[in-house]
């Protein structure tokens, strides 16, 4: 079953076409990677799929709901992690999770336990009562991810979740993504790091608002005739 179906989705800002008639499907439990240079239209596409931005034309069905007419229902079923860290820096780790958990209507009796479990999984239990602005970026990113999946969404959108964090935290982060996907959650992730692309089940490479390549990492490497996704990207950027 597909959890995301995108059909000729387009976004124009005036004359500028940010996303140009992209189409693809993502299966349930799949880790789908969105690759592309800066300004390729990845973030705009994600914002349309998560109900933050109205598409200019085309269609997208996310978790069974239409983005143009059923944004509220979509929002209930997705988790979203912005490119820019956007939890409250002047609240503690626990307070941030409590705030968003409550907004997502997680029952009060269950919420505290879920937060503590989630922090334990991230090894952030000791930091629960620290203000977010006092913890390092890598931890912040892990916290943002934990907050995005606290309400057990069907789909999680991760917009450059690992930019600016060290290799160890990146590795931990991808372990989290794998764990989450193994429970049947669909993950749509954008990244600049080509090694990370290798971890995805399927990837798409975007440029100038269009999807240029789409397939499993193996397929793309064969198609271009190189041995790494990095080479695929470089080869492809040359043309």
């Amino acid at each position: 079953m597909n959890s995301i179906e995108v059909d000729h989705l387009t976004k124009k800002f005036g004359d500028f076409v940010a996303v140009n008639e992209i189409s693809f499907q993502v299966r349930e439990g799949e880790i789908f990677g969105f690759l592309g240079a800066n300004g390729a239209g990845k973030t705009t596409a994600i914002k349309m799929m998560s109900g933050l931005l109205q598409p200019t034309s085309g269609k997208a069905i996310v978790a069974g709901y239409d983005v143009t007419t059923q944004a509220k229902l979509i929002k209930r079923n997705i988790g979203y992690m912005s490119q820019r860290f956007s939890l409250y820096n002047d609240l503690t780790v626990f307070e941030n999770m409590q705030l968003f958990g409550t907004i997502y209507k997680i029952p009060r009796t269950e919420l505290k336990q879920r937060i503590m479990d989630s922090l334990a999984a991230l090894e952030l239990t000791k930091q629960a009562n620290l203000l977010v602005n006092s913890i390092p970026l890598g931890w912040k990113q892990k916290l943002a991810f934990a907050t995005a999946i606290l309400h057990k969404p069907k789909i999680v959108f991760l917009d450059e979740p690992t930019s600016g964090v060290d290799p160890i935290v990146r590795r931990e982060f991808w372990n989290l993504i794998y764990q989450t996907a193994s429970t049947g959650v669909t993950i749509l992730v954008t990244t600049h790091y080509m090694d990370e692309a290798e971890y995805c089940h399927r990837i798409s490479i975007m440029a100038d608002g269009n999807i240029r390549l789409l397939g499993t990492p193996e397929e793309l490497k064969q198609q271009v005739g190189v041995s790494t996704i990095n080479d695929v990207f470089v080869e492809y950027v040359k043309h």
């Binding site: 229902l73 929002k75 997705i78 979203y80 956007s86 939890l87 820096n89 968003f100 209507k105």
Partner: protein
Amino acid sequence: MRTILILIKKEFLQVFRNPLLLSILIVAPMVQFMIFPFCADYEIKVLDIVFIDHDGSSVTQDIIHSFDASDIFVPHGIIHNKKEANRMLKHDKVDIIVEFPNHFEQDLMNGNATRIAITANAINTTKAGIGVGYTQEIIGGYMQEFKEKNMVYTSAEETPANVNLSYIYWYNEQMNYKNLIVPGILVILVTLIGCYVTALNLVREKEIGTIEQVNVTPIRRWQFLIGKMIPFWILGMAEFILGIGIMKLVFGITVQGSIPLLLGITAIYLLVMLGLGFFISSVSENQLQAMFIVLFLFIIFVLLSGLFTPTEGMPKWAHHINYLNPMSFYMEVIKKIVLKGSTFISVQKETIILSVMAVLVNTGAILSYQETSK
């Protein structure tokens, strides 16, 4: 309900963790309150005066001495050189010059016409007007006594009429400008908390991106706005109550009317200002824009509100604009309840208008808030 409560909790946590915001909210307005009423004051307390005495007689001496008894005038001596006096006026050493001509006493005794020249620095027209008025009053008083002592009245008609005018200034018996300006400052404080702080708060969330994380949740926009509004509404009311306390303790101004009525109408006025603040933050991209819009509206509100100048003196078009100015209605309410002790009947019209404004502005704020951008 749970959602709104957690939002209120979040807002209070943030306010109390932000020392700058806290000081903007509490300390700065209170300091303003302590300072502003003493500066924004039309009362003239000091008038520097110098005399040019060409006569040098006992009469001119007596007149000059009668200025010594005044609390307001600070005499800067007697000089004989007009140029020197003008120089003093030019350099702001004195505000008033009183010049007695030659043979002043002699002319007076002989019943001939004579005149005293009063020159005032009219850069500050209020000060000049009041200064000349006081000078005339003192000289006039002396002349009256002088006549009574020296004149032989030949007939009853020439007797100075014994008419004593007495004045009672209602609602502000001491004619104290503070009685008007202090409640006025209260209005300004409530307006600033309501409009300024909330507008900046919401637009800041836009700037740092936290609003995106909220917008991607299934929260309803009215829930979000109410969750923002209630904390600032509570802070505004707390500030107002603190203000009434200071007004009583520092300035000795007691609310003449019903305090619950005053609080009730303040609550409505705060809703108008909170809604306006949110509306402004919805249409602004960043804090700078929001600040300029608030400042622009604020100045118009204050100038038209009747705090500094009576609204009655304004041209017709200003009156028309004032129908859109929530501050002018609220100022009216404050003046009536605090100074006059008016009851609900006298402020009914203002209350209804403010309530309608509150509904309209907040509807506008909710509608203009975009959770999904175009």
